[in-house]
Symmetry: C2
Subunit: 485 residues, 2 copies
């Protein structure tokens, strides 16, 4: 996020950021990583790391980290099926992405929490496709009806069937990843065609905090990188549990983990685009719950963004989450404080949309409301329209109108009115009596109505009959991919 | 707001800020001000301004503006009756102040909008006194039952009777101001005693945008300054109406108005503390309403804050307002986006609390919810606790725990848990089932219950019987000052 921003907010001085970088390298060199994936251990050792085979502990020399950093490519593209929907960061920041993989959903009709299914994903895909705040659809929920062998294809299919925006997803183990890629090849009309436009945007958390590369996700990212497909990793330190109960200590663990996984990416494939993605937290000891809506979480996001800027790479992550169980004031507050904080610190990518209950439940109304936050952030990013011409023109207009005058009929009023304000279809900016006459509906009720309107229009699948046939032949047990309502 | 912040967010470069300052001076020198108050005109002319008597237009030479700027005192103190409640900005930023002077209130029992009364002010004073997010009580509503001759005393009395925090107020015309001061003298035990601790914090909008000093408020600020009592002024440009339909043009008009009124303050009393206070807006042409919750309004607040930093004076104002009619997601979003934006740009003072309907209505639940925003901003201002010791200690702890370990029983966890997180009594950070078991209450319902709890405790007036007697003798027609419930 940079358009129109002259200086980003910072908690840290340059020297402090350098020290945090040095401390992170020290952690990797002297504390090391536990690397549970054998191939990754081999690759790390081949690049000059020391291995303690008995503990699977790998030590990364500081020079190796610096050498890998030198090939960091500070840009990331989310690829869609059609190029016009591609999104580049940081160039097109702020990039608003849904938050993903909630296991539960608030049923549209009853409002009750229940397991999410592939039909829900089709409905959500339709909604995200229409909402202007979103740039990327990271599949919002799991699918309880997914078959074991098509765990991720059963999520990906309804998403691609109803959303043109780039789709971000993850997988569970190699067979699952391979079937997802087979699915992609079938959709593209072959592996070669897919290679030219690899429209499945892979995402993993291969680092289990603290400082551990797992088996499965590490294998998946290695494979995806070797194929040259887009992938990035998120780090998730949790102060008091998987990192020190200290803002600084949690930042150091997370930053060391960012360096570790992204240096590993460079070893697998030098020049891999780097996105500094995070989901940090401080454990909330009062209830023992995961509190992604806390201000401390927002502050850590900002701190990681500052470190990303130090490394010259775009950043973002699970910004704008809430612990609230309803799309209420608390939700609006938590989403907006962290989203605004991260944006003004320079985050390019915000996984804002749709979740309640600390990432547990998807809610349609919340997704509509969060799209508004996205639109407001996009307006903010346009900045203050400074320019020498503007200065002269304004001085002239101010002088012509003079003290006590009115600007309503001036040239700029006519010219700028359509563009200067973000005109929302959801926010109530009317007088109270008009709002009361329309039923005194709070924002979440209006949002639910907007979702209803979008979802009650005829569903238009994006895949041709031919493509559907090809897919069904390959995956006879695939879910219907149709919205429930 | 500076604690723990190494660099503030900025839309503008230093050069752009200098240009905006120069443009603002040019407006004052060549477009000039309309000055409706005769004494102010005289004083301005005595200090070297040119007057066009036929239009009451006054032109401020650039050197005069610079000379006055040289005596700007970049600090402001809100004075309470007891020194322990005083608040200094920027030293004690973020200073959270209620938003004030709503004519209407949402009745606590019925939820219906009605005119606010002096009894409401007593109840609100009790609430603000208890809510930890607030530092200053700017009297939230008007009082429909106030007598004509005691228009402002009837508001001030219930506020002082039930709130120990500094009280900010305004007045309507000289007789009203003089009765407010008489009231203050009586409370202090005499004019001399009051002079030692002038605990009524005066606030006015003497500049009617564009570029006009009015008659009454200008007279009031002049008198208050001459007495040496605390006062500051807010500027309120409204793009498309009283300033150009341009972010930059509106900023220039507002900044010129800030310079004009604060230079005037220095002419009346050199060395007067300066607070750059603002309530800017862009007219919302779709509905014609005043939209203080828009992102454009937030951006203008940030821009004015940047100019305040250029002048080396603390800043703030009507940040964190909402156009919403209920304390819903929209309200949480609008309050939080602008409050976070302003805080990260360096605003010290935020008139956040309690209003809905674009400043028209006070709501108890909203005041409780906004206190939470204040508490989160205070946590944010504490920053990231960087320190060389912290770095060493964290590195040691990370190394001791090692990859795959857990930090739950480490020294820092035990030591920092009580202080690192803001533990809210209002935010739901529980698991969903616990929230459902407690009645599935959204944040506004919980906030209303918290207000109810505070207001149903026995009311404890802060004024002694002796003081009450003295006041009643002076003002026999004074309102009861008692809460209605």
């Amino acid at each position: 996020m940079s358009t129109g921003f002259k200086h980003l907010f910072r908690f840290f001085s340059d020297e402090e950021r350098r020290n945090i970088h040095e401390a992170s390298k020290q952690v990797l060199a002297t504390t090391g990583l536990a690397v549970r994936n054998a191939r990754a251990r081999e690759l790390l050792v081949a690049h000059g790391c020391t291995l303690d085979a008995s503990t699977e502990r790998v030590y990364l020399p500081e020079q190796l980290v610096e050498a890998c950093r030198a090939s960091f490519e500070g840009r990331y593209t989310f690829t869609a099926r059609e190029p016009e929907f591609d999104v580049n960061v940081p160039g097109e920041a702020p990039c608003i992405v849904t938050a993903s993989s909630a296991s539960r959903i608030l049923d549209f009709s009853t409002g009750e929490q229940r397991d999410a299914t592939s039909s829900d994903i089709a409905s959500i895909a339709r909604l995200i496709n229409e909402l202007p705040g979103y740039d990327v659809f990271s599949i919002s929920t799991l699918a309880a009806d997914a078959s074991r062998e098509l765990f991720s294809v059963d999520r990906l299919y309804p998403a691609l069937k109803y959303c043109q925006k780039p789709i971000r997803t993850t997988t569970m183990g190699m067979p699952d990843l391979l079937s997802v890629l087979e699915f992609g090849y079938a959709l593209a009309g072959g592996r070669e065609a897919y290679g030219e436009r690899p429209f499945i945007n892979h995402h993993y958390c291969p680092v289990i905090s603290p400082l551990t590369f797992d088996v499965d996700s590490t294998e998946a990212v290695t494979y995806v990188l070797e194929q040259g497909y887009p992938v990035y990793a998120t780090i998730c330190p949790n102060g008091g549990m998987t990192s020190p109960m200290s803002m600084l200590g949690t930042l150091i663990v997370g930053n060391a983990e960012f360096l570790a996984i992204n240096c590993y990416f460079q070893m697998v494939r030098p020049g891999t685009p780097v996105l500094y993605a995070y989901l940090p937290n401080i454990a909330y000891m009062r209830t023992g719950t995961y509190t992604s809506g806390s201000v401390e979480c927002a502050m850590l996001e900002m701190a990681h963004t500052e470190m990303a800027e130090f490394y010259g790479v775009p950043s973002g992550g699970y910004i704008g989450q809430t612990d609230s169980h309803a799309p209420d004031y608390q939700a609006g507050q938590e989403v907006s404080m962290s989203a605004t904080g991260a944006a003004l610190t320079g985050a390019s990518l915000l996984n804002i949309g749709g979740l309640l209950d600390s990432l547990v439940s998807f809610d349609y109304a919340k997704a509509v409301l969060d799209s508004e936050v996205g639109m407001n952030l996009k307006r903010l990013a346009r900045g203050m329209e400074y320019g020498a011409e503007g200065l002269e023109r304004n001085l002239r207009e101010i002088d012509e109108v003079g003290p006590g005058g009115i600007f309503m009929m001036e040239d700029q009023t006519l010219e700028n009115t359509p563009t200067i304000c973000y005109y929302s279809d959801l926010a109530s900016r009317d007088i109270r009596s008009a709002w009361e006459a329309a039923g005194s509906k709070p924002a979440d009720v209006r949002a639910r109505e907007q979702a209803q309107k979008i979802l009650s229009a005829p569903a238009r699948p994006l895949l041709s009959e031919e493509t559907e046939d090809a897919i069904r032949e390959l995956f006879p047990n695939l879910v219907s991919g149709e919205p429930a309502r």
